[in-house]
Protein backbone atom coordinates (compact mmCIF):
# COMPACT_ATOMS: atom_id res chain seq x y z
CA UNK A 1 0.00 0.00 0.00
CA UNK A 2 1.36 3.41 -0.87
CA UNK A 3 2.64 5.54 1.95
CA UNK A 4 1.23 8.63 0.28
CA UNK A 5 -2.28 7.30 0.67
CA UNK A 6 -4.93 9.81 1.60
CA UNK A 7 -7.76 7.35 1.24
CA UNK A 8 -10.36 7.15 3.97
CA UNK A 9 -10.41 3.38 3.58
CA UNK A 10 -7.89 1.25 1.78
CA UNK A 11 -8.22 -2.50 2.12
CA UNK A 12 -6.29 -5.11 0.20
CA UNK A 13 -7.13 -8.81 -0.01
CA UNK A 14 -8.80 -8.60 3.39
CA UNK A 15 -9.83 -12.09 4.45
CA UNK A 16 -11.55 -13.47 7.50
CA UNK A 17 -11.82 -17.17 8.19
CA UNK A 18 -13.77 -18.57 11.11
CA UNK A 19 -13.32 -22.05 12.46
CA UNK A 20 -16.70 -23.71 12.82
CA UNK A 21 -16.32 -27.23 14.09
CA UNK A 22 -14.05 -28.95 11.61
CA UNK A 23 -15.07 -26.61 8.85
CA UNK A 24 -13.36 -23.38 8.04
CA UNK A 25 -15.79 -20.70 7.00
CA UNK A 26 -14.43 -17.93 4.84
CA UNK A 27 -16.76 -15.05 5.69
CA UNK A 28 -14.71 -12.47 3.79
CA UNK A 29 -12.54 -13.55 0.88
CA UNK A 30 -10.05 -11.07 -0.44
CA UNK A 31 -11.92 -7.82 0.03
CA UNK A 32 -10.47 -4.86 -1.89
CA UNK A 33 -11.95 -1.50 -0.96
CA UNK A 34 -10.83 2.02 -1.71
CA UNK A 35 -12.89 4.91 -0.44
CA UNK A 36 -11.96 8.57 -0.91
CA UNK A 37 -12.48 11.15 1.79
CA UNK A 38 -15.98 12.62 1.65
CA UNK A 39 -17.61 9.74 -0.22
CA UNK A 40 -20.91 8.20 0.85
CA UNK A 41 -20.68 4.49 0.10
CA UNK A 42 -23.51 2.00 0.50
CA UNK A 43 -22.46 -1.56 1.10
CA UNK A 44 -25.15 -4.01 -0.01
CA UNK A 45 -25.48 -7.74 0.08
CA UNK A 46 -27.76 -10.55 1.17
CA UNK A 47 -27.60 -11.83 4.73
CA UNK A 48 -24.48 -13.87 5.25
CA UNK A 49 -22.68 -12.17 2.37
CA UNK A 50 -19.97 -10.92 4.72
CA UNK A 51 -20.99 -7.27 5.09
CA UNK A 52 -21.03 -7.14 8.85
CA UNK A 53 -17.81 -9.12 9.10
CA UNK A 54 -16.19 -6.69 6.65
CA UNK A 55 -17.35 -3.77 8.74
CA UNK A 56 -16.05 -5.43 11.88
CA UNK A 57 -12.67 -5.94 10.22
CA UNK A 58 -12.48 -2.31 9.13
CA UNK A 59 -13.48 -1.02 12.57
CA UNK A 60 -10.92 -3.23 14.41
CA UNK A 61 -13.59 -5.32 16.12
CA UNK A 62 -12.10 -8.39 14.45
CA UNK A 63 -8.51 -9.05 13.42
CA UNK A 64 -8.17 -10.07 9.76
CA UNK A 65 -6.91 -13.56 8.96
CA UNK A 66 -5.11 -12.29 5.87
CA UNK A 67 -4.66 -9.07 3.98
CA UNK A 68 -4.24 -5.52 5.21
CA UNK A 69 -6.30 -2.42 5.68
CA UNK A 70 -5.61 1.19 6.44
CA UNK A 71 -8.56 3.03 7.85
CA UNK A 72 -8.37 6.80 8.37
CA UNK A 73 -4.69 6.46 7.51
CA UNK A 74 -3.86 3.89 10.19
CA UNK A 75 -3.26 0.16 9.99
CA UNK A 76 -6.11 -1.85 11.55
CA UNK A 77 -3.72 -4.62 12.50
CA UNK A 78 -0.84 -2.70 14.06
CA UNK A 79 -2.53 0.51 15.20
CA UNK A 80 -6.07 -0.44 16.16
CA UNK A 81 -6.27 2.18 18.94
CA UNK A 82 -5.34 4.95 16.51
CA UNK A 83 -7.98 3.74 14.05
CA UNK A 84 -10.58 3.73 16.82
CA UNK A 85 -9.64 7.26 17.77
CA UNK A 86 -10.30 8.48 14.24
CA UNK A 87 -13.49 6.71 13.27
CA UNK A 88 -17.08 6.78 14.41
CA UNK A 89 -19.03 3.54 14.55
CA UNK A 90 -22.75 2.98 14.75
CA UNK A 91 -23.39 -0.74 14.98
CA UNK A 92 -26.51 -2.71 14.16
CA UNK A 93 -27.51 -2.63 17.79
CA UNK A 94 -27.79 0.31 20.19
CA UNK A 95 -24.76 2.15 21.51
CA UNK A 96 -26.10 3.58 24.73
CA UNK A 97 -26.50 1.72 27.99
CA UNK A 98 -30.18 1.23 28.75
CA UNK A 99 -29.85 2.22 32.39
CA UNK A 100 -28.05 5.46 31.54
CA UNK A 101 -29.40 8.90 30.79
CA UNK A 102 -29.30 10.19 27.22
CA UNK A 103 -27.18 13.27 27.77
CA UNK A 104 -24.83 11.52 30.21
CA UNK A 105 -24.04 8.90 27.61
CA UNK A 106 -23.12 11.44 24.93
CA UNK A 107 -20.94 13.44 27.34
CA UNK A 108 -19.20 10.29 28.54
CA UNK A 109 -18.69 9.13 24.96
CA UNK A 110 -16.89 12.41 24.29
CA UNK A 111 -14.72 12.02 27.37
CA UNK A 112 -13.75 8.52 26.28
CA UNK A 113 -12.30 10.22 23.18
CA UNK A 114 -10.23 12.54 25.36
CA UNK A 115 -12.48 15.59 25.11
CA UNK A 116 -12.54 17.44 28.44
CA UNK A 117 -15.67 17.54 30.54
CA UNK A 118 -16.94 21.01 29.67
CA UNK A 119 -16.22 20.74 25.99
CA UNK A 120 -17.90 17.32 25.87
CA UNK A 121 -20.97 18.75 27.59
CA UNK A 122 -21.11 21.60 25.10
CA UNK A 123 -20.75 19.19 22.23
CA UNK A 124 -23.45 16.91 23.64
CA UNK A 125 -25.88 19.81 23.84
CA UNK A 126 -25.30 20.83 20.24
CA UNK A 127 -25.76 17.23 19.06
CA UNK A 128 -28.90 16.81 21.15
CA UNK A 129 -30.29 19.88 19.51
CA UNK A 130 -29.36 19.02 15.95
CA UNK A 131 -30.68 15.47 16.32
CA UNK A 132 -33.87 16.70 17.97
CA UNK A 133 -33.20 14.86 21.18
CA UNK A 134 -33.07 17.89 23.47
CA UNK A 135 -36.38 17.17 25.14
CA UNK A 136 -35.36 13.61 26.07
CA UNK A 137 -31.86 14.62 27.25
CA UNK A 138 -32.49 13.61 30.84
CA UNK A 139 -34.59 10.55 30.10
CA UNK A 140 -33.37 7.02 30.59
CA UNK A 141 -32.21 5.39 27.36
CA UNK A 142 -34.57 2.46 27.96
CA UNK A 143 -37.57 4.79 27.72
CA UNK A 144 -36.75 6.06 24.22
CA UNK A 145 -38.57 5.02 21.05
CA UNK A 146 -36.71 3.10 18.35
CA UNK A 147 -36.21 6.20 16.23
CA UNK A 148 -34.95 8.26 19.15
CA UNK A 149 -32.55 5.49 20.15
CA UNK A 150 -31.16 5.35 16.63
CA UNK A 151 -30.60 9.10 16.58
CA UNK A 152 -28.85 8.78 19.94
CA UNK A 153 -26.59 6.14 18.38
CA UNK A 154 -25.76 8.58 15.59
CA UNK A 155 -25.11 11.38 18.10
CA UNK A 156 -22.70 9.13 19.98
CA UNK A 157 -20.98 8.13 16.77
CA UNK A 158 -20.44 11.79 15.88
CA UNK A 159 -19.45 13.19 19.26
CA UNK A 160 -15.77 13.44 18.33
CA UNK A 161 -16.51 14.73 14.82
CA UNK A 162 -14.87 11.74 13.12
CA UNK A 163 -13.71 12.14 9.56
CA UNK A 164 -15.01 8.64 8.82
CA UNK A 165 -18.29 7.19 10.02
CA UNK A 166 -19.29 3.52 9.78
CA UNK A 167 -23.00 2.79 9.94
CA UNK A 168 -24.28 -0.77 10.09
CA UNK A 169 -27.89 -0.81 8.88
CA UNK A 170 -28.74 2.51 10.46
CA UNK A 171 -32.39 2.52 9.44
CA UNK A 172 -33.40 -1.11 9.90
CA UNK A 173 -36.52 -1.50 11.96
CA UNK A 174 -37.59 2.13 11.67
CA UNK A 175 -40.90 3.26 10.25
CA UNK A 176 -40.73 5.21 6.97
CA UNK A 177 -41.08 8.56 8.69
CA UNK A 178 -38.26 7.85 11.15
CA UNK A 179 -36.12 6.58 8.29
CA UNK A 180 -36.60 9.76 6.31
CA UNK A 181 -35.91 11.77 9.43
CA UNK A 182 -32.73 9.85 10.17
CA UNK A 183 -31.52 10.35 6.64
CA UNK A 184 -32.13 14.06 6.80
CA UNK A 185 -29.86 14.12 9.84
CA UNK A 186 -27.13 11.96 8.33
CA UNK A 187 -27.01 14.09 5.20
CA UNK A 188 -27.00 17.36 7.08
CA UNK A 189 -24.31 16.27 9.48
CA UNK A 190 -22.30 15.00 6.56
CA UNK A 191 -22.63 18.34 4.85
CA UNK A 192 -21.55 20.15 7.99
CA UNK A 193 -18.57 17.97 8.83
CA UNK A 194 -17.62 16.64 5.39
CA UNK A 195 -17.62 13.17 6.88
CA UNK A 196 -16.90 10.06 4.85
CA UNK A 197 -19.79 7.65 5.34
CA UNK A 198 -19.48 3.90 4.83
CA UNK A 199 -22.77 2.15 5.49
CA UNK A 200 -24.54 -1.12 5.05
CA UNK A 201 -28.25 -1.09 4.37
CA UNK A 202 -31.11 -3.40 3.62
CA UNK A 203 -33.09 -0.73 1.86
CA UNK A 204 -32.13 -0.43 -1.80
CA UNK A 205 -34.22 2.69 -2.27
CA UNK A 206 -32.06 4.35 0.39
CA UNK A 207 -28.85 3.37 -1.33
CA UNK A 208 -30.29 4.54 -4.63
CA UNK A 209 -31.36 7.87 -3.28
CA UNK A 210 -28.45 8.81 -1.04
CA UNK A 211 -25.31 6.87 -1.89
CA UNK A 212 -22.81 8.18 -4.39
CA UNK A 213 -21.38 4.76 -4.71
CA UNK A 214 -22.76 1.29 -4.21
CA UNK A 215 -20.73 -1.80 -3.49
CA UNK A 216 -22.50 -5.15 -3.73
CA UNK A 217 -21.06 -8.03 -1.77
CA UNK A 218 -21.92 -11.70 -2.08
CA UNK A 219 -20.19 -14.84 -0.85
CA UNK A 220 -17.50 -12.82 0.87
CA UNK A 221 -16.49 -10.83 -2.21
CA UNK A 222 -17.34 -7.50 -3.76
CA UNK A 223 -19.09 -8.31 -7.02
CA UNK A 224 -20.02 -4.81 -8.17
CA UNK A 225 -18.82 -1.31 -7.40
CA UNK A 226 -20.29 1.71 -9.18
CA UNK A 227 -22.66 4.65 -8.84
CA UNK A 228 -26.30 3.61 -8.47
CA UNK A 229 -27.11 4.93 -11.95
CA UNK A 230 -24.00 3.30 -13.38
CA UNK A 231 -24.99 -0.06 -11.96
CA UNK A 232 -28.49 0.26 -13.33
CA UNK A 233 -27.41 1.41 -16.76
CA UNK A 234 -24.63 -1.12 -17.15
CA UNK A 235 -26.26 -4.15 -15.67
CA UNK A 236 -29.90 -3.75 -16.61
CA UNK A 237 -30.59 -0.76 -18.80
CA UNK A 238 -34.03 0.45 -19.73
CA UNK A 239 -36.55 -1.86 -21.29
CA UNK A 240 -39.67 -1.73 -23.41
CA UNK A 241 -42.31 -4.36 -22.76
CA UNK A 242 -44.64 -5.15 -25.67
CA UNK A 243 -47.72 -7.30 -25.51
CA UNK A 244 -49.15 -8.95 -28.63
CA UNK A 245 -52.40 -10.76 -29.45
CA UNK A 246 -50.81 -14.18 -29.40
CA UNK A 247 -47.60 -16.09 -28.88
CA UNK A 248 -47.32 -16.44 -32.63
CA UNK A 249 -47.67 -12.68 -33.22
CA UNK A 250 -45.01 -11.99 -30.65
CA UNK A 251 -42.67 -14.37 -32.39
CA UNK A 252 -43.33 -12.71 -35.74
CA UNK A 253 -42.50 -9.31 -34.24
CA UNK A 254 -39.08 -10.36 -32.92
CA UNK A 255 -37.06 -9.81 -36.15
CA UNK A 256 -38.48 -6.29 -36.47
CA UNK A 257 -37.29 -5.40 -32.98
CA UNK A 258 -33.64 -6.30 -33.41
CA UNK A 259 -32.47 -2.90 -34.62
CA UNK A 260 -33.94 -1.08 -31.62
CA UNK A 261 -32.22 -3.19 -29.00
CA UNK A 262 -29.38 -1.81 -26.93
CA UNK A 263 -26.13 -1.47 -28.83
CA UNK A 264 -24.24 -2.96 -25.91
CA UNK A 265 -26.25 -6.10 -26.35
CA UNK A 266 -25.72 -7.35 -22.83
CA UNK A 267 -29.22 -8.66 -22.79
CA UNK A 268 -31.19 -10.29 -25.56
CA UNK A 269 -34.92 -9.65 -25.96
CA UNK A 270 -36.91 -11.93 -23.70
CA UNK A 271 -39.88 -13.56 -25.31
CA UNK A 272 -42.44 -15.04 -22.98
CA UNK A 273 -45.80 -16.16 -24.33
CA UNK A 274 -47.47 -13.03 -25.74
CA UNK A 275 -44.99 -10.49 -24.38
CA UNK A 276 -41.54 -9.41 -25.43
CA UNK A 277 -39.20 -7.51 -23.13
CA UNK A 278 -36.58 -5.59 -25.09
CA UNK A 279 -33.57 -3.82 -23.58
CA UNK A 280 -33.19 -0.40 -25.24
CA UNK A 281 -30.87 2.58 -24.80
CA UNK A 282 -33.68 5.01 -23.93
CA UNK A 283 -37.13 3.58 -23.44
CA UNK A 284 -39.08 6.83 -23.74
CA UNK A 285 -37.78 7.84 -27.15
CA UNK A 286 -37.58 4.31 -28.59
CA UNK A 287 -41.14 3.33 -27.87
CA UNK A 288 -42.93 5.51 -30.49
CA UNK A 289 -40.55 4.32 -33.19
CA UNK A 290 -41.03 0.69 -32.23
CA UNK A 291 -44.80 1.04 -32.21
CA UNK A 292 -44.75 2.59 -35.68
CA UNK A 293 -42.38 -0.01 -37.07
CA UNK A 294 -44.52 -2.85 -35.76
CA UNK A 295 -47.66 -1.24 -37.20
CA UNK A 296 -45.99 -1.04 -40.62
CA UNK A 297 -44.82 -4.63 -40.40
CA UNK A 298 -48.37 -5.76 -39.71
CA UNK A 299 -47.70 -7.06 -36.19
CA UNK A 300 -49.15 -4.27 -34.03
CA UNK A 301 -48.54 -4.30 -30.29
CA UNK A 302 -51.64 -4.51 -28.16
CA UNK A 303 -50.17 -2.73 -25.15
CA UNK A 304 -46.83 -1.22 -24.26
CA UNK A 305 -44.89 -0.38 -21.15
CA UNK A 306 -41.50 1.17 -20.41
CA UNK A 307 -39.40 -0.12 -17.56
CA UNK A 308 -36.64 1.71 -15.77
CA UNK A 309 -34.28 -0.39 -13.68
CA UNK A 310 -34.22 -0.26 -9.91
CA UNK A 311 -31.41 -1.37 -7.64
CA UNK A 312 -33.61 -4.34 -6.82
CA UNK A 313 -33.22 -5.47 -10.45
CA UNK A 314 -29.46 -4.93 -10.22
CA UNK A 315 -29.33 -6.92 -7.04
CA UNK A 316 -31.30 -9.74 -8.59
CA UNK A 317 -29.09 -9.88 -11.65
CA UNK A 318 -25.96 -9.92 -9.51
CA UNK A 319 -26.95 -12.33 -6.79
CA UNK A 320 -29.88 -14.26 -8.20
CA UNK A 321 -31.89 -13.18 -5.21
CA UNK A 322 -34.02 -10.24 -4.28
CA UNK A 323 -32.85 -8.45 -1.19
CA UNK A 324 -36.23 -8.73 0.46
CA UNK A 325 -36.15 -12.52 0.19
CA UNK A 326 -32.72 -12.99 1.56
CA UNK A 327 -33.71 -13.13 5.17
CA UNK A 328 -35.74 -16.26 4.62
CA UNK A 329 -34.83 -17.84 1.28
CA UNK A 330 -32.53 -20.80 1.07
CA UNK A 331 -29.01 -19.54 0.47
CA UNK A 332 -27.16 -20.78 -2.55
CA UNK A 333 -23.98 -22.01 -0.95
CA UNK A 334 -23.73 -23.32 2.55
CA UNK A 335 -20.15 -22.39 3.26
CA UNK A 336 -20.71 -18.64 3.24
CA UNK A 337 -24.01 -18.60 4.94
CA UNK A 338 -22.87 -19.40 8.42
CA UNK A 339 -23.36 -16.73 11.02
CA UNK A 340 -21.35 -13.74 9.97
CA UNK A 341 -19.99 -13.02 13.37
CA UNK A 342 -18.34 -15.57 15.60
Amino acid sequence: MSGMSTKAIEAERLTKTFASGNKRVRAVRGLDVRVDPGELVAFLGPNGAGKTTSLRLLTTLLPPTEGAARVAGRDVRTEPAAVRHRIGYVGQMNSAGHNQRVRDEIVMQGRFYGIDKNAAAQRADSLLESLELGWVANRMVSSLSGGQRRRLDIAMGLVHAPSLLFLDEPSTGLDPQSRANLWRHILRLREEYDTTVFMTTHYLDEADQFAERVMVMDHGRVIADDTPSGLKANLIGERVVLEFDSHHEAERALPHLREYGSATGFQAPVHHDRTVELPVPAAGSCLPKIVLALERAGVPARSTETKRPTLDDVFFVLTGRTLRDTGVSAPTETSETEEETP
Binding site: T6, P37, G38, T59, T60, L61, G73, E79, A81, A82, R84, H85, I87, Y89, G91, Q92, M93, N94, S95, A96, G97, H98, N99, Q100, R101, D104, M108, Q109, G110, R111, F112, Y113, G114, I115, A119, A120, Q122, R123, S126, M156, H160, A161, P162, S163, E192, Y193, D194
Partner: protein, 268 residues
Protein backbone atom coordinates in the same frame (compact mmCIF):
# COMPACT_ATOMS: atom_id res chain seq x y z
CA UNK B 1 -7.07 14.81 3.83
CA UNK B 2 -8.61 18.07 2.80
CA UNK B 3 -8.86 20.89 5.26
CA UNK B 4 -12.42 20.93 6.40
CA UNK B 5 -14.40 23.81 7.69
CA UNK B 6 -15.15 22.92 11.24
CA UNK B 7 -18.51 24.08 12.50
CA UNK B 8 -18.04 22.43 15.82
CA UNK B 9 -16.89 24.42 18.78
CA UNK B 10 -15.17 21.29 20.04
CA UNK B 11 -12.43 19.81 17.91
CA UNK B 12 -11.38 16.29 18.85
CA UNK B 13 -8.01 16.38 20.55
CA UNK B 14 -5.40 14.92 18.23
CA UNK B 15 -3.16 12.21 19.60
CA UNK B 16 0.11 13.68 20.67
CA UNK B 17 3.32 12.18 19.37
CA UNK B 18 3.94 8.68 20.58
CA UNK B 19 0.58 8.41 22.29
CA UNK B 20 -1.69 5.60 21.20
CA UNK B 21 -4.72 6.49 23.31
CA UNK B 22 -6.32 9.87 24.04
CA UNK B 23 -6.53 9.28 27.81
CA UNK B 24 -4.01 7.74 30.18
CA UNK B 25 -4.73 4.42 31.89
CA UNK B 26 -5.99 5.96 35.13
CA UNK B 27 -8.36 8.24 33.22
CA UNK B 28 -9.69 5.24 31.25
CA UNK B 29 -10.34 3.36 34.50
CA UNK B 30 -11.88 6.41 36.16
CA UNK B 31 -14.27 7.14 33.29
CA UNK B 32 -15.46 3.54 33.01
CA UNK B 33 -15.88 3.43 36.81
CA UNK B 34 -17.83 6.69 36.77
CA UNK B 35 -20.15 5.56 34.00
CA UNK B 36 -20.88 2.24 35.72
CA UNK B 37 -21.48 3.92 39.04
CA UNK B 38 -24.00 6.42 37.76
CA UNK B 39 -27.08 4.17 37.53
CA UNK B 40 -26.27 2.83 41.01
CA UNK B 41 -26.08 6.30 42.54
CA UNK B 42 -29.25 7.38 40.80
CA UNK B 43 -31.13 4.45 42.20
CA UNK B 44 -29.80 3.95 45.76
CA UNK B 45 -32.90 2.02 46.79
CA UNK B 46 -31.84 -0.85 44.54
CA UNK B 47 -28.76 -1.24 46.75
CA UNK B 48 -30.92 -1.55 49.84
CA UNK B 49 -33.21 -4.09 48.17
CA UNK B 50 -30.16 -6.27 47.69
CA UNK B 51 -30.06 -6.59 51.48
CA UNK B 52 -33.33 -8.49 51.63
CA UNK B 53 -31.78 -11.93 51.40
CA UNK B 54 -29.00 -11.35 53.98
CA UNK B 55 -31.58 -9.87 56.34
CA UNK B 56 -33.71 -12.99 55.99
CA UNK B 57 -30.70 -15.02 57.08
CA UNK B 58 -30.05 -12.74 60.02
CA UNK B 59 -33.72 -12.68 61.06
CA UNK B 60 -34.74 -16.30 60.47
CA UNK B 61 -31.62 -18.42 60.27
CA UNK B 62 -29.56 -16.89 63.04
CA UNK B 63 -32.10 -17.46 65.87
CA UNK B 64 -32.23 -21.16 64.89
CA UNK B 65 -28.47 -21.40 64.82
CA UNK B 66 -28.25 -19.63 68.14
CA UNK B 67 -30.68 -22.09 69.78
CA UNK B 68 -28.91 -25.11 68.31
CA UNK B 69 -25.57 -23.92 69.63
CA UNK B 70 -27.04 -23.01 73.02
CA UNK B 71 -26.32 -19.34 72.36
CA UNK B 72 -22.67 -19.87 71.53
CA UNK B 73 -23.05 -18.76 67.91
CA UNK B 74 -24.48 -15.30 68.33
CA UNK B 75 -24.63 -12.10 66.29
CA UNK B 76 -20.90 -11.58 66.70
CA UNK B 77 -20.24 -14.92 65.08
CA UNK B 78 -22.95 -14.68 62.46
CA UNK B 79 -22.98 -11.08 61.17
CA UNK B 80 -19.40 -11.01 59.84
CA UNK B 81 -20.23 -14.16 57.85
CA UNK B 82 -23.37 -12.55 56.44
CA UNK B 83 -21.29 -9.53 55.41
CA UNK B 84 -19.14 -11.87 53.33
CA UNK B 85 -22.35 -13.31 51.92
CA UNK B 86 -23.41 -9.79 50.95
CA UNK B 87 -20.23 -9.19 49.01
CA UNK B 88 -20.45 -12.63 47.44
CA UNK B 89 -24.03 -12.27 46.21
CA UNK B 90 -23.76 -8.63 45.22
CA UNK B 91 -20.82 -9.26 42.93
CA UNK B 92 -21.49 -12.78 41.65
CA UNK B 93 -24.40 -11.66 39.50
CA UNK B 94 -22.83 -8.47 38.18
CA UNK B 95 -21.71 -10.23 35.01
CA UNK B 96 -25.35 -10.26 33.96
CA UNK B 97 -25.18 -6.47 33.65
CA UNK B 98 -22.41 -6.90 31.13
CA UNK B 99 -24.43 -9.58 29.35
CA UNK B 100 -27.28 -7.13 29.07
CA UNK B 101 -24.89 -4.60 27.51
CA UNK B 102 -23.76 -7.33 25.13
CA UNK B 103 -27.37 -7.89 24.08
CA UNK B 104 -28.15 -4.23 23.53
CA UNK B 105 -24.92 -3.37 21.71
CA UNK B 106 -23.58 -0.98 24.37
CA UNK B 107 -20.68 -3.32 25.03
CA UNK B 108 -19.71 -3.59 21.36
CA UNK B 109 -19.70 0.20 21.14
CA UNK B 110 -17.18 0.44 23.98
CA UNK B 111 -14.89 -1.94 22.08
CA UNK B 112 -14.67 0.56 19.20
CA UNK B 113 -13.73 3.38 21.56
CA UNK B 114 -10.06 4.31 21.95
CA UNK B 115 -10.13 2.80 25.45
CA UNK B 116 -7.69 0.17 26.62
CA UNK B 117 -9.26 -3.23 27.20
CA UNK B 118 -7.93 -3.59 30.73
CA UNK B 119 -9.66 -0.47 32.12
CA UNK B 120 -12.92 -1.53 30.48
CA UNK B 121 -12.89 -4.45 32.92
CA UNK B 122 -11.10 -2.86 35.87
CA UNK B 123 -13.38 0.19 35.94
CA UNK B 124 -16.42 -2.05 36.04
CA UNK B 125 -14.95 -4.30 38.73
CA UNK B 126 -13.92 -1.34 40.93
CA UNK B 127 -17.46 -0.05 40.87
CA UNK B 128 -18.53 -3.24 42.68
CA UNK B 129 -16.94 -1.88 45.85
CA UNK B 130 -19.50 0.87 46.19
CA UNK B 131 -22.82 -0.97 46.43
CA UNK B 132 -21.37 -3.78 48.52
CA UNK B 133 -19.77 -1.40 51.02
CA UNK B 134 -23.03 0.52 51.32
CA UNK B 135 -24.91 -2.73 51.85
CA UNK B 136 -22.45 -3.93 54.47
CA UNK B 137 -22.71 -0.63 56.36
CA UNK B 138 -26.51 -0.69 56.30
CA UNK B 139 -26.52 -4.27 57.55
CA UNK B 140 -24.17 -3.39 60.41
CA UNK B 141 -26.38 -0.42 61.32
CA UNK B 142 -29.48 -2.62 61.35
CA UNK B 143 -27.89 -5.19 63.65
CA UNK B 144 -26.42 -2.66 66.12
CA UNK B 145 -29.69 -2.21 68.08
CA UNK B 146 -29.88 -5.99 68.48
CA UNK B 147 -26.62 -6.09 70.34
CA UNK B 148 -24.01 -6.36 67.60
CA UNK B 149 -21.01 -4.38 68.83
CA UNK B 150 -18.10 -4.48 66.40
CA UNK B 151 -14.64 -3.14 67.06
CA UNK B 152 -14.60 0.08 64.97
CA UNK B 153 -11.05 -0.26 63.64
CA UNK B 154 -11.52 -3.95 62.99
CA UNK B 155 -14.81 -3.26 61.22
CA UNK B 156 -13.12 -0.70 58.97
CA UNK B 157 -10.34 -3.11 58.03
CA UNK B 158 -12.94 -5.83 57.54
CA UNK B 159 -14.83 -3.64 55.10
CA UNK B 160 -11.63 -2.97 53.14
CA UNK B 161 -11.01 -6.70 52.78
CA UNK B 162 -14.64 -7.22 51.71
CA UNK B 163 -14.36 -4.47 49.11
CA UNK B 164 -11.19 -6.03 47.74
CA UNK B 165 -12.79 -9.45 47.54
CA UNK B 166 -15.82 -7.89 45.80
CA UNK B 167 -13.63 -6.33 43.10
CA UNK B 168 -11.93 -9.65 42.42
CA UNK B 169 -15.09 -11.72 42.47
CA UNK B 170 -16.96 -9.15 40.35
CA UNK B 171 -14.15 -9.32 37.80
CA UNK B 172 -14.57 -13.11 37.68
CA UNK B 173 -18.30 -12.68 37.14
CA UNK B 174 -17.60 -10.35 34.21
CA UNK B 175 -15.08 -12.86 32.85
CA UNK B 176 -17.75 -15.55 32.98
CA UNK B 177 -20.19 -13.30 31.13
CA UNK B 178 -17.59 -12.64 28.42
CA UNK B 179 -16.77 -16.34 28.16
CA UNK B 180 -20.35 -17.59 27.75
CA UNK B 181 -21.23 -14.65 25.43
CA UNK B 182 -24.96 -14.45 24.81
CA UNK B 183 -25.96 -17.63 26.60
CA UNK B 184 -27.68 -16.27 29.70
CA UNK B 185 -28.71 -19.70 30.98
CA UNK B 186 -25.08 -20.82 30.91
CA UNK B 187 -24.03 -17.81 32.95
CA UNK B 188 -26.62 -18.48 35.65
CA UNK B 189 -26.02 -22.23 35.67
CA UNK B 190 -22.28 -21.87 36.20
CA UNK B 191 -22.76 -19.00 38.63
CA UNK B 192 -25.13 -21.02 40.81
CA UNK B 193 -22.98 -24.13 40.55
CA UNK B 194 -20.02 -22.16 41.94
CA UNK B 195 -21.79 -19.87 44.38
CA UNK B 196 -23.45 -22.31 46.77
CA UNK B 197 -20.54 -24.72 47.26
CA UNK B 198 -18.28 -21.69 47.81
CA UNK B 199 -20.69 -20.38 50.42
CA UNK B 200 -21.23 -23.62 52.31
CA UNK B 201 -17.55 -24.58 52.19
CA UNK B 202 -16.49 -21.30 53.75
CA UNK B 203 -18.10 -21.78 57.17
CA UNK B 204 -20.11 -18.67 56.51
CA UNK B 205 -23.46 -19.96 57.78
CA UNK B 206 -22.53 -23.00 59.83
CA UNK B 207 -19.22 -23.80 61.52
CA UNK B 208 -17.21 -26.38 59.63
CA UNK B 209 -15.41 -27.55 62.76
CA UNK B 210 -18.18 -30.08 63.33
CA UNK B 211 -18.37 -31.10 59.68
CA UNK B 212 -16.74 -34.19 58.13
CA UNK B 213 -12.99 -34.13 57.63
CA UNK B 214 -13.11 -33.97 53.84
CA UNK B 215 -15.19 -30.78 54.05
CA UNK B 216 -12.55 -29.13 56.20
CA UNK B 217 -9.90 -30.17 53.70
CA UNK B 218 -11.82 -28.66 50.80
CA UNK B 219 -12.56 -25.52 52.81
CA UNK B 220 -8.84 -25.06 53.38
CA UNK B 221 -8.53 -24.42 49.63
CA UNK B 222 -11.43 -21.99 49.58
CA UNK B 223 -10.19 -18.38 49.83
CA UNK B 224 -13.58 -17.44 51.18
CA UNK B 225 -12.91 -19.50 54.36
CA UNK B 226 -9.98 -17.27 55.21
CA UNK B 227 -11.96 -14.13 54.50
CA UNK B 228 -14.82 -15.29 56.74
CA UNK B 229 -12.37 -16.09 59.55
CA UNK B 230 -10.66 -12.73 59.10
CA UNK B 231 -13.95 -10.84 59.23
CA UNK B 232 -14.93 -12.60 62.47
CA UNK B 233 -11.54 -11.83 63.99
CA UNK B 234 -11.47 -8.20 62.90
CA UNK B 235 -15.02 -7.39 63.94
CA UNK B 236 -14.20 -8.90 67.35
CA UNK B 237 -11.08 -6.75 67.56
CA UNK B 238 -8.52 -9.53 67.10
CA UNK B 239 -5.70 -8.26 64.89
CA UNK B 240 -3.68 -11.42 64.36
CA UNK B 241 -2.72 -13.88 61.66
CA UNK B 242 -6.37 -14.66 60.89
CA UNK B 243 -6.79 -11.08 59.63
CA UNK B 244 -3.56 -11.25 57.63
CA UNK B 245 -4.52 -14.50 55.92
CA UNK B 246 -7.91 -13.03 55.09
CA UNK B 247 -6.27 -10.01 53.50
CA UNK B 248 -3.95 -12.28 51.54
CA UNK B 249 -6.89 -14.38 50.34
CA UNK B 250 -8.75 -11.23 49.19
CA UNK B 251 -5.61 -10.00 47.42
CA UNK B 252 -5.27 -13.35 45.64
CA UNK B 253 -8.92 -13.16 44.48
CA UNK B 254 -8.32 -9.60 43.21
CA UNK B 255 -5.20 -10.59 41.30
CA UNK B 256 -6.77 -13.69 39.75
CA UNK B 257 -10.01 -11.85 39.01
CA UNK B 258 -8.38 -8.91 37.30
CA UNK B 259 -5.98 -11.12 35.38
CA UNK B 260 -8.66 -13.49 34.10
CA UNK B 261 -11.14 -10.65 33.51
CA UNK B 262 -8.69 -8.49 31.61
CA UNK B 263 -7.71 -11.42 29.44
CA UNK B 264 -11.35 -12.15 28.68
CA UNK B 265 -11.92 -8.50 27.74
CA UNK B 266 -8.90 -8.47 25.42
CA UNK B 267 -10.36 -11.44 23.57
CA UNK B 268 -13.82 -9.92 23.37
Amino acid sequence: MTTRTDHTTVPTPRLRNGRTHPNNVQADVWLVFLRELRPVLRDPLSIVFGLLQPLVFVGLFMPLLSSFSAGELDLHWFVPGVLVMVSLFATASTGSNLQFDMHTGAHERTLVLPLRRGPLLIGRALKEMVPLTVQACVLILITLPFGFLPNPVGALLGLVILAGFGVGFGALSYALALAVKNQDWMFWTIQQAVLFPLMILSGMLLPLEQGPGWMRVVAAFNPLSYIVEAERALFAGRFGWEAVWGAVAAAVVVLIGLFVGTRAMRRA
